[in-house]
Symmetry: C2
Subunit: 336 residues, 2 copies
DNA sequence: TTTATTTACTTAACCGTTTTCGTAATCACA
DNA sequence: TGTGATTACGAAAACGGTTAAGTAAATAAA
C-alpha cells in the first residue's frame, strides 16, 4: 500500500536505486538485460515516479504555467487548446492560473512562480496595469516568459500578438465604407497594449477618411455584463447615437447585441457592429456578426513553441522574438 | 542569483532552518519577535519556498487536476471557472489535463497521477470508454476522485451531475408538444453515462406520448465538425427527414444550424431544434436557440467543493456523494 | 530550594530521485 | 603481460523544506 518507490523497486531487483533510476531513464550505462528487468518489474509493481522528488533534484518541473484573465472566453479557451497541444507533445503539464482581471492576483501568481513551480510562463496580462517587476524577477531567475495577445510593451520578452492595429484599422475602414460616420469604439481597459494598438488603428482609419476623432467615442466598459448592457443602452438610446460600433473584446459584441435587442434597434439598419471575436457562432447570430477573427489556437501554439524554444536554450531569455499572426476581417450581415 | 533557500535565510538571521520554517508557518513554538524578523528578512530577500521540496516532504502537492476532453466548449470552460474559483480560495493550484476524447490519453494522464502530482482529481470522462482500473488504483492510493457531468456509472465515487434524464425528457416533451413526431437525437457516444441518461429521458417522453421509439433516430456523431455537418445534411436532405432535433452536445447544436443554413432549411419551420448548450449567444442566434442550459459554473464549484471535503477527511473516499444540480429548459424561437 | 513546566529554539533525519564519483570486471592492444 | 578503455553497476551526497525529538533557559509550582 505504501507507495512503491525506486528503492523498493531496487530491493526487489537486487539492484541499487541508482541503477534503477538510470535504467528507467534508458541510460547507456545500463545493460539491455537489466533495463528490461527493471521495466518489467516497474510495470508489475505499477511503479510511478514521484514527480516532486524528481523536480526537486533536477530543478525542472516539467510544467508550464498559463496566466490569463479567464477561461470562459472563446479566444482564451482556444488559445489554451493550442498551448496544451504543444505542451502535451513535449511531455509537459499545464497549470492554468486565472487572474480574473485583477492585477493583485496576477502579481501574487507570478510571485509564487519564483519558487520554481513552473519552468516557464505564458501570460496574457489582466486589464489592470501589469507590474513589470514580477516579470523582471522571473526573467532574472532564468524563468522564460512569453506574452501572448495582451502583451506588456515595456518589457523585453518574447511575444505573440496579432496585428491589432491593422485589424482595428480594417474594421474601422470597413465601417466607414459602409457609411458610418460616428463610430463608437468599446474597450475594457486603456492601459492594455491591445487597446492602444486597436485604438491607434481606429484613429488612423478615421483620419485617413477625414473624420474627426472624438475621444468621447472611446467607450470604456467594465467586466460586469449587466453594467455594460446598461451603459450601452444609455448610449444607444440617445438621439446622436453611433451608427457603427467596434467591440474590441468578444464579450462586448455580445452585449451590444443584447442592448440592441432590448432597445429594439436594428443591426445593421440602425447601427452596424463589428467585433473582435472568436465565437464559433458568429456566423449564426441574428444578424450574423462581422468579426475580426483572431488566430487563437495558432497564437497559443506559437506562444508555447516560443516558450519551449527558450526552455531548450541554456541562455534563458535568448528568444526575444515578437511574432505577429494576422487576424482576418470576416464581413457578415451586421455591417452590410 | 542562486535561489535563496530557507537555509540561506536562516544563516542571514543566525537561526536554524527549522526555526525559520516554523516561523513562516506561524508555529506557536516561535516567539512573536522572531516571527517578525523572519517575515521581514524573507520579504527583503524575496524568498519564495520551493513547492516541490515541500510537496515531497509533506506528501501534499496543493494541486488538483482537472481531467476533461477539451476546454473550447462553453460548458467545460465555465466549469473550470467554477473549479478554479474554489481552488484559488483554498490555496490550491489547478492542473488542466485534456484528453481530447481519447481513452488512451485519459488513461495515461490518470496513471501519471498515481505519482502524486495532484492531491485530488476532478474528471469528466472522454467519450471513449473510461477504464475504471485507473480510477480504482487512484482510489486505492487514497487520491480522492470526483466525477462531474460525464460520470462513470460503475464506479463508486463522488459525482456531480445534472438531471440529464429529466432534462432530455423535458426537451423531448417540449418538441412533441410543438407537434414533432419524428425526433432525431444526436449524440457523440453511446457509452457515456450522460448519453444513456439523456436517451432514456427521450425514450420516456416518446413512450408517454405514444410515439414509437425508433433506434435509427439516435444519431451517433463524431468529433469532426465537418463530418457531422455532412452527416446532418445527408439526414436533413431526405424526404422523411426529422421534424425535430435534440442535440445532446453543445457543438452539435451549432452544426445543426450550419447544416440547415447550407440546405436552406428553416428553423423552426422545417425542423425544430433544441440543444444542450451553455452558449452565451444562444438567445442571439438566428433563430434563437431553445436550450437545456446546464449549471456549468455551479457544477464546477460543487465538484471542487466535494473534492476538498474529501481532501479534508482522513478517510479519503468518505464522500461518496452524488449531487444533482438541475438544468433548465429555456424555450426560444428554434422550437416555437 | 528543588522539581515540574513552559518557552524558544536546534539537531538531524527524513521525503524519493538524480547524479557525481568510484570501482570492479571485462576487453582491446601493443 | 601490462596498460588503457570500456562496460555495468553501487555508494553517497545532493535538492530544499518539514518535523520528531531533544535541550537549555526561564518560569511556575511544591
Amino acid at each position: 500500500m505504501g507507495n512503491v518507490t525506486i528503492r523498493i523497486l531496487a530491493r526487489e531487483l537486487q539492484l541499487s536505486a541508482a541503477t534503477v533510476s538510470k535504467a528507467l531513464a534508458d541510460s547507456h550505462e545500463i545493460s539491455q538485460s537489466t533495463k528490461k528487468r527493471v521495466l518489467e518489474k516497474a510495470a508489475a509493481l505499477n511503479y510511478t515516479p514521484n514527480p516532486y522528488a524528481s523536480s526537486l533534484r533536477r530543478k525542472k518541473s516539467k510544467t508550464i504555467a498559463v496566466v490569463l484573465p479567464e477561461v470562459a472566453d472563446s479566444f482564451f479557451s482556444q488559445a489554451i487548446d493550442g498551448i496544451e497541444a504543444i505542451a502535451q507533445d513535449k511531455g509537459y503539464h499545464v497549470l492554468v492560473c486565472l487572474t480574473h482581471e485583477r492585477a493583485l492576483k496576477e502579481q501574487a501568481i507570478l510571485h509564487e512562480m519564483l519558487g520554481g513551480r513552473a519552468d516557464g510562463i505564458l501570460i496574457s496580462s489582466c486589464s489592470e496595469t501589469t507590474d513589470p517587476a514580477s516579470i523582471l524577477e522571473l526573467q532574472e531567475k532564468g524563468v522564460p516568459v512569453v506574452f501572448f495577445d495582451r502583451v506588456c510593451e515595456e518589457l523585453d520578452t518574447a511575444k505573440v500578438v496579432t496585428d491589432d492595429r491593422n485589424s482595428a484599422y480594417k474594421a474601422s475602414d470597413h465601417l466607414i465604407r459602409c457609411g458610418c460616420r460616428n463610430i463608437a469604439f468599446l474597450t475594457i481597459s486603456e492601459n492594455l497594449s491591445i487597446s492602444h494598438e486597436r485604438i491607434e488603428g481606429y484613429k488612423h482609419a478615421l483620419e485617413e477618411r477625414g473624420i474627426k476623432f472624438n475621444p468621447a467615442d472611446i467607450i470604456p466598459c467594465t467586466h460586469q455584463a449587466d453594467d455594460n448592457v446598461h451603459l450601452l443602452k444609455k448610449m444607444l438610446g440617445k438621439k446622436d447615437r453611433p451608427d457603427g460600433i467596434i467591440a474590441s473584446v468578444e464579450k462586448l459584441a455580445v452585449q451590444v447585441y443584447q442592448a440592441c435587442r432590448e432597445l429594439g434597434l436594428n443591426i445593421p439598419g440602425d447601427v452596424r457592429v463589428v467585433g473582435f471575436s472568436n465565437l464559433v457562432t458568429a456566423s449564426l447570430l441574428n444578424p450574423s456578426l462581422t468579426t475580426i477573427t483572431q488566430p487563437a489556437f495558432e497564437m497559443g501554439r506559437a506562444a508555447a513553441t516560443l516558450l519551449f524554444k527558450a526552455l531548450g536554450n541554456k541562455s534563458a531569455d535568448a528568444a526575444q522574438n515578437v511574432l505577429v499572426i494576422p487576424s482576418e476581417l470576416q464581413v457578415r450581415d451586421s455591417t452590410s
